[in-house]
Symmetry: C2
Subunit: 401 residues, 2 copies
């Protein structure tokens, strides 16, 4: 079976995470993605993210670049830019997270490429929208976390500003960019027209935090301070059991009452602080305290069985290392053994979503730098002689240096 | 101008956050969204999320439900289910986050609705995929954060498992669901076929964390423990200045050297611990410590100007409350004053992304419970007499009770 984006061709001039997660999603759903990398060492993520069996092939790079083809090309040389532009005229989608001034310098901004390929969908992921005072500023994930209120949510919760220990801005905005490209592909089918899309990280993450936490400050004048105090509770943690942790949430009356019965405190079901949703919202701190201090007498497995019977939402706690052993993830194919053609035995992460009309077959592993360059250029119409010249002139990059 | 999803009609049987953020995105890009709510008080988020000027109209509800139409209908009554099914046959997309067994009981599962409307795109957001051992279990955001390694990333960073103080699982998976619907709309334009999509929260969030943090444990046998130590650094925080905080990230050599010059320590540019990317990755702890302890002598505004000159990525720090005053967000229309027809003066959050082919005009404010019920049913072909009967029988809900 084919994926929903089967037949869509994507040229990807992006690096690190925000762009690569976008094109990863497109690829996972059937698109062909050609990743452009420059010398001498390609995508910065090849160098920035820890151990692999060979240089530039660490686990994080492998996981964000599954299924892509790599074209290594020197964009500091005019022949490299010319090849890139020729390739861009043959694809459906162009994705980049390089800054707008650099796009213009390389001739890969929306205006330049759409002049050559009017049906192209051009997606530019920026730090800050081009129509505001922060336009053109450089950005990384943590800069965006700090300016968009992500770190501010920690201050509101624990008193100390802090970044989330994963790339929540890069990851979220990469997903949004793939979403925007899906919407643009839909419109192009209806209208035949290409598109220039701008996806600014700051605006997307600020909207995210404001939707969640503007709260009583959504009104003018404010009805109270910003922040959803239930979600900001400093007690928002997995709960300790006899042998580890468990994750429990009991929001409806039926769930909360089931929880009170399970912990042997049925009197709380009629306690005016805890009987109904509105009362528990008023007494979040006490309610969360009861949840946090009631589970030390049994193991996680014992509690999971009890909560399952009582229809109280609960799950085991996973560390970042225990996920590969989770029985559900194994059963559904989210974690499977794979043999990488050059890197040996690895774990492959599967595609999470199911489509009745077909999902793409599992994508092949991530490429070495420049592994597909000659093939990609040949498909774009370059002759063997033209490709040889690019190789001899050091424009075509076929390996780390 | 019209948005990319102009003309798409969506029926939304979802509540709280994961479903509503999905349909919010569809709505923001031009789709018409009809939100189904049950008696007596509609979407649980109307009750769960703090202060408003009237019951059920708190800020969080308003921000996740902008632009939607509300149909209040009692699905415990057969006439309510019949009306819902009649409506489902007139739309392009059906979104739900109720559990699969409840979908089947109401006759709104994919098989039932697609039998009546073969071109329908049916999207079911679940806690856990239906083909694994956790299938059918109830889930809330924090349960998913705990089982998917989100809380585990905190343990790996600070030693203590903790939830992110916003609904990262709900929000992310809601965005993914909208993405999947976009891909399905694209495929339907090409093939004419409808689709059943399943979007499981656990699988999506586990993939997210594994992509980021499986790292050296992506290899068999593992080359090291899971986790990207740069991102897990407990020093990953906004940096204190003379008068507050600033957010700075300096990853390339040029940026790091610019930072060292700016803080008056040019000798670090040639220090073998800090001169090059690979060296700084090896000495992350010391490098982050220098960043954290060097900025106390000047104000945030002074440092922003210095880093701007040096092309070092930096931004001001925003609290969750200060976002509405951010000059960039104001300038680009992400925060604007709005008069809600029943709730009075509020702040409206804008749409973050730009499309050359047109973005949808700003969407109207969120509806009161059942505000659009009679109109929606009339458009679906119900006669005035049929609607009156539903009203008299208490099936049609037109207000909180």
């Amino acid at each position: 079976m084919a994926g929903p984006l089967d037949g869509v061709r994507v040229l990807d001039l992006s690096a690190v995470v925000v762009g690569p997660i976008c094109t990863h999603v497109l690829c996972e759903h059937g698109a062909e993605v050609i990743k452009i990398e420059g010398p001498p060492s390609g995508d910065l993520l090849r160098s920035l993210a820890g151990k692999g069996r060979s240089p530039g092939m660490n686990g994080k790079f492998l996981n964000f670049n599954r299924g892509k083809r790599s074209l290594g090309i020197d964009l500091k040389k005019p022949a490299g830019i010319a090849a890139l532009q020729r390739l861009a005229a043959t694809v459906d989608v162009f994705v980049t997270n390089i800054r707008p001034d650099a796009q213009a310098r390389l001739g890969v901004d929306a205006a330049s490429l759409r002049a050559m390929a009017p049906k192209l969908i051009h997606c530019s992921i920026t730090g800050f929208g081009s129509d505001g005072p922060y336009a053109g500023r450089p950005a990384y994930d943590t800069v965006i976390q700090g300016v968009s209120g992500v770190a501010g949510a920690f201050e509101a919760s624990t008193g100390e500003p802090r970044y989330v220990p994963f790339l929540v801005a890069d990851h979220t905005v990469g997903l949004v960019a793939a979403q925007m490209i899906g919407f643009a592909l839909y419109r192009r089918e209806k209208t035949g027209m290409g598109e220039a899309i701008e996806v600014p990280m700051f605006e997307n993450m600020a909207a995210y935090i404001m939707q969640e936490h503007l709260g009583a400050a959504s009104f003018r004048p404010p009805l109270g301070p910003a922040g959803d105090h239930r979600v900001l509770s400093p007690d928002g943690k997995p709960l300790p059991t006899k042998d580890g942790f468990i994750c429990v949430s009991a929001n409806t009356d039926a769930q909360a009452h089931g929880f009170f019965d399970a912990i042997g405190r049925p009197e709380l079901k009629t306690d005016p602080r805890f009987a109904r949703v509105a009362q528990r919202v008023q007494h979040t701190k006490e309610y969360f305290h009861i949840r946090a201090t009631s589970l030390g007498g049994r193991t996680t497995a014992e509690w999971l069985e009890i909560f399952d019977q009582a229809d109280v939402p609960a799950s085991p706690y996973n560390t970042i290392g225990s996920l590969i052993d989770d029985p559900h993830l194994r059963a559904v194919g989210m974690v499977r053994e794979e043999e990488h053609p050059t890197e040996g035995a690895t774990w492959a992460i599967g595609a999470p979503n199911r489509f009745s009309g077909g999902v793409a077959p599992p994508r092949p592993p991530a490429p070495r730098l420049g592994a597909d360059g000659a093939a990609v250029l040949a498909e774009a119409g370059l002759t063997a002689d033209e490709i040889d010249v690019l190789r001899q002139d050091g424009v075509l990059i076929e390996g780390m240096s």
